[in-house]
């Protein structure tokens, strides 16, 4: 039997990644494996579990509450993610301008929400969305749109998903702005300069040169943003609590309630598995949009 000889560097490499690998195994692989097992049982908290095969998954297929939660998740994630990507890109392009004065200040301002706490900022956003007396209401009054100042952002089912999405966009755009900014800085300038010399307009350079070269970054932002936003619990909890009338009862809320409130741990685990599958499928589909890298 041939013994595998590891080089000195490989051994060191393994040593260095071992804490992360152990963390990943203990706090990701193991819980997911346990959830897979639990999803095939009728486990209710405090009672013994019995193997029931795929019954929980079959239940989810015909469960209107699960469908509603899925739709609510996709709606809020769709609104938030599209806004985050567009806004982050615009901000990154603006901040990438070498002639921009006070650029450090702007970068700080854009990134600051990222390092704040969801709960603390959630309280602030509750005040911002307050009808008639809130910050947003004041802004509407100020610009002559007083009929909008009484909008009940968090307590009407049409506006509540939008309110949650606005909060998420505010909190997360800064992070992806920095990612885009790093991407823009790594785009070889000679390509852009050559195009300009050949008579291309700034818009053409951006759409034909910069954006294609930013594609891997964009895919990363979309995948990472999707997985993060769809799993968010805190902004919904802070602003709407899943209401009104279940308008913002997204998948994380559905799973939490099913597990803890209704004690249906097996069923909630199955929902968690579907949630994981959605994220993986989305990531795989997005990864297929990466036909080439920066340097090809």
């Amino acid at each position: 039997m041939r013994r595998i000889q590891l080089t000195y560097q490989t051994k060191f490499g393994l040593l260095f990644i071992s804490p992360a690998a152990l963390y990943f195994a203990g706090f990701w692989v193991l819980p997911v494996a346990l959830a897979v097992v639990a999803s095939a049982t009728d486990w209710r908290i405090g009672r013994p579990a019995h193997f029931i095969g795929l019954s929980n998954y079959a239940g989810l297929v015909s469960d209107p509450q699960f469908h509603h939660a899925l739709l609510a998740s996709l709606t809020m994630t769709g609104i938030a993610l599209a806004s985050i990507v567009a806004l982050a890109l615009v901000l990154a392009v603006a901040l990438n301008d070498s002639g921009l004065r006070l650029s450090r200040f702007y970068k700080l301002a854009v990134f600051a929400p990222v390092v704040t706490d969801w709960v603390a900022t959630g309280l602030a956003w509750q005040l911002i969305f307050l009808p008639n007396q809130g910050v947003l209401a004041g802004l509407f009054e100020g610009v002559g749109l007083s009929q909008w100042s009484s909008l009940r952002w968090t307590s009407t089912r049409q506006l509540a998903p939008l309110a949650v999405a606005i909060f998420v966009v505010w909190k997360m755009t800064g992070l992806y702005t920095m990612v885009f900014l790093a991407g823009l800085r790594s785009v070889p300038r000679e390509f852009q300069e050559a195009a300009l010399m050949d008579g291309a307009s700034a818009t053409q350079v951006f759409s034909r040169i910069t954006m294609p070269l930013l594609r891997p970054i964009t895919v990363f932002v979309v995948v990472s943003g999707f997985v993060t936003v769809i799993g968010l619990f805190e902004p919904i909890f802070m602003l709407t609590g899943g209401g009104p009338a279940d308008a913002t009862r997204a998948l994380p809320i559905f799973m939490y309630e099913t597990f803890f409130q209704f004690q249906r741990a097996g069923y909630a685990s199955a929902a968690g598995m579907v949630f994981l599958a959605i994220c993986l499928v989305f990531a795989l589909l997005a990864a297929r949009q990466l036909p080439y890298s920066f340097y090809e």
């Binding site: 405090g46 015909s62 007083s146 009484s150 909890f237 609590g241 899943g242 009104p244 009338a245 209704f262």
Partner: protein, 456 residues
């Protein structure tokens, strides 16, 4: 160099010795501290400022003074919302953790006792010879919610029912006479009065509403959805959402109950679930003219609104001339002890309870709770006490509660914090948010209950 080395050698000894002495002192000090650790009693309560004040300003300091070395830590958790008190309590106790002592609604006792989260109370800690004697100290039947196999698994934090509060200044401004205090009025009359009390500004924006149900957009409490609906459903003649174990929500009484919610919201336009802002501030601050609440409403609203003028009337009914419609709901909150904690912690928790709720024959604690927080402990000696009678004389509005238990048929709601309760919430929301017709929401609820109960 040699001399230097020797010098270092001679200095090293005392330094090492001193370090060893210091280390030994630290170790001994640590051991001494460990030998007598301060005992911590952890308490969770639902967020209700008068309750938190009662614990932090009175009962904990008094208990700590009588039990040196005991630290009492209180955590107050919001009552409504996703990670609300109930869910947090359930998740903590399910994992074998949670506080030593907590308060919780009557709806949890069955599940929590089934799951052995709750420890039986030791009657001797409360000065009774047996559990039976302890149960007999309360008004007959009231402790049944806490009883299992001859043991008591909880003790009253509050025992309550609903009456109608209204803002006298808003009534006066609208030219409406105060409601009778001795006889309930009809829901129809409430709607008619509420129409006069609902106002909009010149732009059509609501500035005040005539009536507020206990649930609204910013307060999605399963308890309040259920309480409001069950009272109506029972007044219309059906005790529960099921009949003989089968879902029965397309019946006339249930449809009529949904219809009343529909009429208040859409026909009479006196209730808007998006309008209320704060459970305790809406009425005293003139945003809501009428609402149903328990005795604790006054201690909760008056500290920030000392000049509020309010009236109290019996719970409205479908037909004041028909005694069969005199139906109201009751609820209890109980204090319970964590069965997964060590015996010493359980005993300490019970000692704290005894000091806070009173031992055999004591009434001063119950009177204090009633007077300060509005919580009733249905002990026989409490109702006979001079303190209780003085409070009734001082606050005549309390008579609405005294008479409620004899005038109405009062019972607990059956479903609120479970999946059936959630389905009911969705059905009510479809009416008050989406303007869905009562028969249609009843049909959808019937289908959902059928699915949940496996009786499609």
């Amino acid at each position: 160099m040699k001399g230097e080395t020797r010098m270092r050698g001679t200095m090293c000894g005392p330094v090492v010795l001193a370090a060893l002495v210091v280390a030994a002192l630290v170790v001994f000090a640590g051991a001494a501290t460990q030998a007598a650790p301060p005992q911590t009693l952890e308490i969770w309560v639902h967020e209700f400022p008068p309750l938190q004040d009662a614990l932090s300003k009175k009962w904990i300091p008094e208990f700590a003074a009588a039990h040196p070395g005991v630290r009492v830590k209180v955590t107050a958790i919001p009552f409504a919302g996703v990670v609300a008190y109930d869910a947090k309590l359930l998740s903590a106790l399910s994992g074998g953790a949670g506080p030593d002592l907590w308060d919780m609604g009557d709806w949890h006792y069955k599940v929590f006792t089934d799951n052995k989260f709750v420890a039986p109370l030791d009657p001797t800690v409360f000065g009774y010879a047996s559990t039976k004697e302890m149960i007999d100290a309360y008004v007959p039947g009231t402790t049944s919610i806490f009883e299992r196999d001859g043991k008591l698994y909880g003790l009253f934090s509050e025992y309550n029912t609903l009456a109608l509060f209204y803002n006298l200044d808003m009534f006066k401004a609208a030219g409406v006479a105060p409601l009778p205090a001795d006889k309930p009025v009809s829901w129809r009359m409430i709607a008619d009065i509420a129409k006069k009390l609902t106002q909009r500004d010149s732009a059509g924006k609501l500035t005040q509403i005539g009536y507020r149900f206990g649930f609204f957009a910013n307060f999605r409490s399963p308890q309040w959805y259920a309480q409001d609906f069950y009272a109506l459903m029972r007044q219309y003649g059906q005790p529960d959402l099921t009949v003989n174990g089968q879902p029965a929500v397309t019946t006339k009484p249930v449809t009529d109950a949904f219809q009343l919610l529909y009429d208040f919201t859409w026909t009479d336009k006196v209730y808007d679930p998006s309008f209320p802002a704060n459970w305790f501030a809406d009425l005293p601050q003139g945003r809501v003219a009428m609402l149903l609440a328990g005795t604790w409403f006054v201690p909760a609203m008056t500290p920030h609104n000392p000049n509020v003028r309010f009236g109290v009337a019996p719970h409205p009914v479908v037909d004041p001339e028909n005694r069969a419609t005199y139906q109201n709901v009751q609820w209890s909150w109980g204090w319970s002890v964590n069965a997964n904690k060590p015996q010493a912690s359980q005993r300490l928790a019970q000692q704290f309870l005894a000091s806070m709720l009173g031992k055999k024959g004591e009434t001063e604690q119950a009177v204090w709770w009633f007077k300060t927080v509005g919580y009733t402990h249905p002990k026989k000696v409490f109702y006979q006490s001079a303190g209780y009678k003085q409070e009734l004389a001082k606050n005549p509005w309390l008579k609405a509660w005294e008479s409620a238990f004899t005038t109405y048929k009062i019972d607990y709601v059956t479903h609120n914090f479970d999946e059936v309760g959630q389905a009911l919430i969705r059905a009510i929301d479809r009416v008050v948010y989406d303007q869905m017709r009562p028969a249609e929401t009843g049909r959808l609820l019937q289908a959902e209950l059928g699915r949940l109960m496996g009786t499609k």
